[in-house]
């Protein structure tokens, strides 16, 4: 492996890892804010207990999301300095705006929320968690605008003297059609993720008939959120597929391992055998569906990989413009599959717990509890698909991954960094899951009676 491969592995490992925590943060910040709002409005104690319980899990998750986010910002410069030089004028702006508008908001108000229970008036304290939630949304918007520019560069020109991209319209950058479909797709997926956390952990308690007053409503809330946000994911995903077919047809062709142009094109649910286009042992196909995904029309034409490769050679010069077909093919299916599975579980959970029922069937509970992992898997595969499907480019059509890496970073340094961060992330995963499970099992806390003593112990302390 050379420094380029190592840097790519590091980006993959650290980004997928970071994005396990981010959607939970985004989804749960809103759910916790919603539960706290319910408490402030109704005064019912089980809402407060739910807020505290889910809030604690939210914080355990948030801690790792924040610290691994630091790596994300630093590694563009550390491992991808030539990329940074090429795109800095355009790409740096949304990153800096994200920090100034979103990260300050999230971190500052989260501190106020955690430690402010006994220092702030009820409504002001409620406002702080909403500010955190808004901060997570803003953050998502700007980072997705940055990423969308890599998928579909707009609002720029290439300076003929320096060969670098220069921003010409920040408005075009922020209203990139890619951003406008990616943002709702990602955010609805984050809600599915947060909802699944509530659904799965509530199911664990409900199975044991534990604190039903807290966990029955939480289970329903989680399941409804998974279901409704899941529909949102489907709708936005459908729009995104069409935009993607226009902007990066190779990615769509790779998603189906479609080598020859087809009209209408069928969608394979799975394929056994090689995806190299030479031989296919067996596949299950639904006619016309790929045409619909790609064009919105069941008889629409879909371009194949071979044709696109020839077009790109003509346009960009000799080279291999195909992403890894097995990775794009399977990650696309796993994304859809795991997301759909989470929705099915949510539907089942709502059905079997309707009207105060608590089912006995063990497998139902196993499905509900394991649903916590389904959106996480779907999210990861979705990003792996998007990023791997863009290869060999970092900025589609403009700049290649092979040109992006830092020339001054040695193979040894790149390897050190990959190994240390992977080990550290591994250890943190074990610790985090341990703590998360421990607190998830403890259930919702009892609320101590309120006192007005100014010297009473802090409501929360590290």
């Amino acid at each position: 492996m050379d420094a380029l491969d190592l840097a790519r592995w590091q980006f993959g490992v650290t980004t997928v890892y970071h994005f396990l925590f981010v959607p939970i943060t985004i989804g749960m910040s809103f759910l916790v804010a919603g539960l706290q709002t319910a408490w402030v409005r109704t005064g019912k104690e089980h809402y407060l207990r739910a807020t505290k319980f889910w809030g604690k899990l939210f914080l355990i998750n948030f801690a790792i999301g924040v610290v691994t986010g630091l790596v994300q910002e630093f590694q563009f410069g550390m491992n991808w300095s030539d990329y940074s030089r090429f795109v800095g004028d355009v790409f740096g702006a949304p990153l800096a705006i994200e920090g100034l508008l979103a990260f300050f908001l999230e971190s500052t108000f989260l501190g106020l929320w955690i430690f402010g229970w006994d220092r702030l008036p009820k409504k002001l304290h409620l406002m702080t968690i909403w500010m955190v939630a808004i901060g997570t949304l803003l953050s998502a918007y700007f980072i997705l605008a940055a990423n969308s520019w890599m998928q579909h560069p707009v609002g720029y020109q290439i300076n003929p003297d320096t060969g670098r991209a220069e921003l010409t319209s920040v408005w075009a950058l922020l209203t990139n059609s890619t951003t406008l479909v990616t943002f709702p797709h990602t955010i609805t997926a984050c809600f599915v993720t947060g909802g699944a956390v509530l659904m799965a952990i509530s199911a664990w308690h409900l199975k044991r008939r534990n604190q039903e007053d807290v966990f029955r409503p939480s289970l329903k809330l989680g399941a409804w959120v998974v279901l409704i946000a899941g529909v949102g994911v489907l709708i936005t995903g459908d729009q995104q597929a069409r935009i993607m077919t226009e902007q990066q047809p190779m990615k769509m062709a790779a998603a189906e391992a479609l080598y020859q142009d087809a009209q209408p094109a069928s969608f394979s649910i799975f394929t056994i055998g090689s995806l190299s286009g030479d031989e296919e042992l067996y596949s299950v196909r639904i006619p016309n569906v790929l045409s619909f995904l790609a064009t919105g029309n069941f008889d629409g034409p879909v371009e194949g990989i071979d044709n696109l490769q020839n077009e790109y050679v003509e346009k960009y010069g000799p080279g291999d413009y195909k992403p890894s077909i097995p990775i794009t093919y399977w990650s696309f299916r796993f994304m859809i599959g795991f997301g759909g599975l989470a929705m099915l579980v949510a539907l089942a959970a709502l059905w079997f717990t309707r009207g105060g029922r608590t089912p006995k069937n063990r497998w139902l509970w196993v499905a509900a509890i394991s649903s916590i992992g389904m959106p996480l898997a779907a999210n990861s595969f979705g990003w792996i698909f998007t990023e791997m499907g863009r290869q060999p480019w970092t900025v589609f059509g403009l700049f290649k991954t092979s040109e992006s890496v830092s020339p001054s970073v040695s193979t040894g340094e790149a390897a050190t960094s990959l190994i240390l961060l992977t080990l550290l992330y591994g250890v943190l995963a074990v610790i985090e899951v341990g703590i998360f499970v421990r607190y998830a099992r403890q259930g919702a806390p009892e609320i101590p009676p309120e006192t007005d003593d100014a010297d009473k112990p802090l409501a929360f302390a590290y």
Partner: protein, 330 residues
């Protein structure tokens, strides 16, 4: 004023804010094993920065992001050139960040002690390495014509930069001790106040040595004036710690850090990363983004920076009350 100068000044401000705010966080972390004799005392110490440390760290994120946006070449050369030190800083900050959140999550003394050492190490490493990094930036590093760093890791460990690392460490430790004295009451306030008074002596000696070396080796008239004021502020801090005037002492150490950063950046200007061969130096002009990007970013900064300062300031107001050991839940 040219926009490149404005952005150089804004990035100076962001680093100054970072050193001022996370400076005491690092100091508190480094002093944790010194000042905290048992679990409850250590909790008291950690909780002085509990509500604010995360927001303080964002100053670093924004300084990095602003450098990327306004001076991409600077960002690219600096981050890839100082690869290993930055990696160590990242690892330290990761470990430190989760430590605060996780140390109290199990009622187990060994578990907590382990996290305490993580907080200590996670504060010590960046406290030293930021000084080393800035020492090297001011000193100048080997860059080639394409602005790539060609010096390797050990080139960064020169005496001047290492003295810079020692300077930030001792200044942060002093700043942290003053902060603990300011934010607590009772025995801890007493102990931290005494420690601050003791630390102020080596702080003056080491910081004066570093600033003097900087002034002589990289003379810049305005820079030297700022360094003199910074040194005076530090002497004022030493005096205030002896008089146990914690508020004044904190103001003085804060001023020292802000001025030290300002002096270093003024000394740099108009370079952002001087090269040993001056022809290859990165300057505010050859490292900057286009005027359009700078203009957009200026509007964003003008609109939102005051807001951020206002709500962060409000946080400090909300948590203004001194903490005492009885208020730490048993």
């Amino acid at each position: 004023m040219e926009l490149t100068t404005v952005w150089f000044a804004l990035i100076t401000l962001l680093w100054a804010g970072y050193f001022l705010l996370e400076g005491f966080d690092f100091g508190v972390g480094v002093l944790l094993p010194v000042l905290g004799r048992d679990n409850r005392e250590r909790r008291l110490i950690i909780n002085t920065i509990g509500p604010v440390w995360d927001g303080n760290e964002v100053w670093l994120v924004v300084a990095g992001g602003a450098t990327f946006a306004a001076f991409p070449e600077w960002y690219a050369t600096l981050f890839s050139g100082f690869f290993l030190p930055l990696l160590f800083i990242l690892i330290a900050l990761i470990i430190r960040g989760v430590s605060f959140e996780y140390r109290g999550k199990r009622d187990d003394e060994r578990w907590r002690r382990r996290w305490d050492w993580c907080i200590f190490g996670g504060s010590l490493v960046p406290a030293v390495l930021w000084g080393v990094a800035f020492g090297n930036i001011v000193r100048g590093v080997p860059l080639d014509a394409g602005h790539e760093y060609i010096g390797g890791f050990f080139n960064l460990l020169n005496p001047y930069a290492l003295l810079g690392g020692l300077t930030t460490l001792v200044l942060f430790a002093l700043h942290g001790a003053v902060f603990i004295a300011l934010k607590t009451d009772g025995e801890m306030r007493e102990r931290a106040g005494k420690l601050a008074a003791t630390l102020s002596v080596p702080a003056i000696v080491i910081a004066a040595g570093f600033l003097l070396w900087t002034g002589v080796a990289h003379f810049d008239a305005i820079g030297v004036i700022i360094f003199v004021v910074a040194a005076l502020a530090l002497i004022g801090a030493a005096a205030a710690t002896r008089l146990r005037r914690e508020g004044w002492a904190f103001l003085a150490t804060a001023l020292t850090l802000v001025l030290a950063v300002a002096g270093l950046f003024v000394t740099l200007f108009p370079n952002v990363m001087p090269a040993l061969d001056p022809a290859n130096s990165l300057t505010v002009d050859n490292a900057s983004s286009t005027p359009y990007t700078l203009k957009v970013m200026t509007w964003v900064a003008v609109a939102f920076t005051p807001l951020v300062v206002a709500y962060q300031g409000w946080t400090y107001w909300v948590f203004r009350k001194r903490l005492t050991i009885d208020r730490i839940p048993a």
